[in-house]
Subunit: 541 residues, 2 copies
Amino acid sequence: MTLDLDADFLKPRPANHRPLTPLNFLFRAADAFGDRTAVIHGDVRYTWSEHAERCRRLASALKRAGIGPGDVVSVLAPNTPAMLEAHFGVPLSGAVLNTLNIRLDAAALAFIVTHCEAKALLVDRQFSALSRDVLAKLPQRPLVIDIEDAYAEGGELIGDTTYEAFLATGDPDDPVHWPGDEFDAISLNYTSGTTGNPKGALYDHRGAYLNALSQLLHHEMTNNSVYLWTLPLFHCNGWCFSWAVAAIGGTHVCLRKVVAEDIFGAVEKHNVSHCCGAPTVLNMVVEGGARLGRKLARPVAVMTAGAAPPAPVLKSSEALGFVIRHVYGLTEQHGVISICDWHREWDGLPEDERLRMMTRQGTRTITTDDMIVADPATLEPVPADGQTMGEILLRGNMSMKGYLKNPKATDEAFSNGWFHSGDLAVMHDNGYVEIKDRSKDIIISGGENISSIEIEEVLYKHPAVASAAVIAMKDEKWGEGPCAFIEVKDGVSLSDEEVLDFCRERLARFKVPRRVIFGPIERTATGKVQKFKLRALLENG
Amino acid sequence: MTLDLDADFLKPRPANHRPLTPLNFLFRAADAFGDRTAVIHGDVRYTWSEHAERCRRLASALKRAGIGPGDVVSVLAPNTPAMLEAHFGVPLSGAVLNTLNIRLDAAALAFIVTHCEAKALLVDRQFSALSRDVLAKLPQRPLVIDIEDAYAEGGELIGDTTYEAFLATGDPDDPVHWPGDEFDAISLNYTSGTTGNPKGALYDHRGAYLNALSQLLHHEMTNNSVYLWTLPLFHCNGWCFSWAVAAIGGTHVCLRKVVAEDIFGAVEKHNVSHCCGAPTVLNMVVEGGARLGRKLARPVAVMTAGAAPPAPVLKSSEALGFVIRHVYGLTEQHGVISICDWHREWDGLPEDERLRMMTRQGTRTITTDDMIVADPATLEPVPADGQTMGEILLRGNMSMKGYLKNPKATDEAFSNGWFHSGDLAVMHDNGYVEIKDRSKDIIISGGENISSIEIEEVLYKHPAVASAAVIAMKDEKWGEGPCAFIEVKDGVSLSDEEVLDFCRERLARFKVPRRVIFGPIERTATGKVQKFKLRALLENG
């Protein structure tokens, strides 16, 4: 006989089972850290009490404007207090938050706002001209709210009201909306759309809550942490730090423009301890440091992802004062799902080996249930030989709810019971994953897989190379071969032959680029090279 | 029109929704930290790979012995590797882990083992004589397994097999049991039973998982943390650090006996960074330090709870090298639910004020949904005046599943939709809670509430007092009045009159004890004074 552990009185009840939601973090911060600085934006300061009050005003104002559950509110803004407030205020009204990539053009933005049927659009005045173009393309005009940020430069007002006037219509004591189920949607993040139309990944309260806790643990944050917004909040809700900083009662430091001067200044003035950013941001700060003759005023822990950080960038970032935490994630996975979780013992490795270790995407985060590198059809994991490539497959609470209005793409993404990342990787013998390519970027030459990333890493080692990207080009004999795009550093020159010689010394012959093209390399707002644009360039001449 | 966010393809599926369970932490640690030391026990060492293998062997052996879902496995052991292995091995078999308080007598242990119908009993040989007495009282003998710990002193073998022989019957590659639902029971922790029979609080996978993450955040642990087991693992599963240390890939340091010499030694030898313990443990280390002329070899962060730590104990603990994190919790709440979350700014307070601040039980932890101080009938919160007493009420995922086989007590504990802690507290103006008394320990004198804790704090300030406890005694005129029990420090003397004079200078007249009784004060294994025993003493003489 066994015990009855499923008796009715042992089933969940509100007293012992509440929906997981990051919204609760705001209330805890206001209760425990009410008088402490929550948000710094130039000379603007909000305590956690004030910040919570503004978030609740926003929620109330939205509800009073008839916006709530089942509705989407879009925001087009840089990393400002209003953007942080939207992360709590919009879901506290019951609506879903959709943050827009400020580097998209009007057509792409109009596609998204139309697709999600946004009921309101909050626009920082810096983007009012762009927004006017977007509005002109919409089938129906939403409620438009101008954010008159204290540090916005220019920009007419194009909205129905201003953000501050709108907040004034709300009552911070109005009851807030709480998710009925923790799997309810909290936000909507569109993929960058490197192929076809962007897809809207729905995040749920449960996933956002769990990932926020995981991020705090892996970034080693405490209530004394000061978090600088070098990562766009519109990118996966700032990898959930939008919510996580409230959980711990830390301090946000806003940043309208991600430029080296402002970063050095903020670190010095506000004692910044943590930030995140793509390797291109690291690169930019390194170059800025060289130009300005500056270093970080104190060590700053940085989580970096979005592209594999080249070893030279890691090295010079460390020299500048960054403590690197290399992570990996996807829009469809609440932001971050693996980390090169550092073993103290590796500090003793020879420099090259240590940096090579750091370029691995690593192991699943604490809240990532399952991550394998496997054949996507058979689910057979690759051997941990550091050689055999497979696709990164993910399963568990970090996966999105699904793509808005897109059952087909959702079912495909989750086919075989796993989320398909589209990233090709190897598994090392220490259980750490290393991405070799996007599945669509792999170069297949004479039946051999060539990782474009491997070639890019070699190119980055050349002292004259500022940026490099490799794509497949047609090859009559071998099917495909590598073509290299290179941005040369200011004031130096570099020839095709020098590049090819450099590669021949460091790569197997079949991996040496067939062609070298010099010029600027376009990237997405999150630092990812837009290889489809390079492919178009190659095809068109 | 609103969006359809509840469409079928947006509902949970295994690819995006997995049960929260701390069991996953073990697999992550084995994958990411396989070669690192997981467990140190004297000269015994296990890596995370080895530890995981032993846990899986235990799960497999239990299953092969016919033990699984719906069954309970009890363990009577100090903080040894086997005890840690049971925390994963037992639930990985599908059974529920019941750890037993090693300081209970045979009758109390027999009550528990009978009540939970344990199918197996794992016994450290130190407790074999006690266990024989327990077994003699059971209606049915379970499978008895002797743990031959490397450092156990004496004790015959009384079981059907030994732990190592039992492990050998398991196969680490056997499939493990995964909870079908995250609200399934993982462990069973009996209350200390200061009134009536102990009740068995069932913990669920969800609550254990969430509390483990919360504990790591609040104790500021990383993969370099070394955790010393000064807190009994049988107490609320070691406040969930049993599982949390695996989540982060840290290192456990076992400790059979919580004595000062071994603690100083372990800190020095293993570079211990974190531990937990009741204030009595702090006190014991402080006294040991004075006796041995030792300090901690490095700063050690300690979470302390179980009774309000008196300010003098906090002060001398800090002088010894402890960094104090004062928390509060209950058996029915997965261990810890509030923390005196420290504000850096308070470091600048005058010493007395700073320590007084530290004695507050503080604010809810990150994973505690709701904590109020309120009238338990009307749920009306008390004003945040630091004066008005109310009961601490809790709601959310930290609450237990319920009491095993006890629907009545479960429904009572959760009446009005909140868990009733039985602790009376005030709310301070900074939102921090301070416990004034157990509801049953409050002294009502002439209609006025007198907090026994307030009087105890005054008594602790007397240099001759080693330990103090105050209970209600009958008073013909006022109904009740305080009675003080005092343990005097070795080698000093103290009279009734000295105590009363000391109190008169520091307390309102009606709070001054009516009577002082000198002698030893009995405590539970977790450092709580057993006031019911003091009451019996008072009544019987």
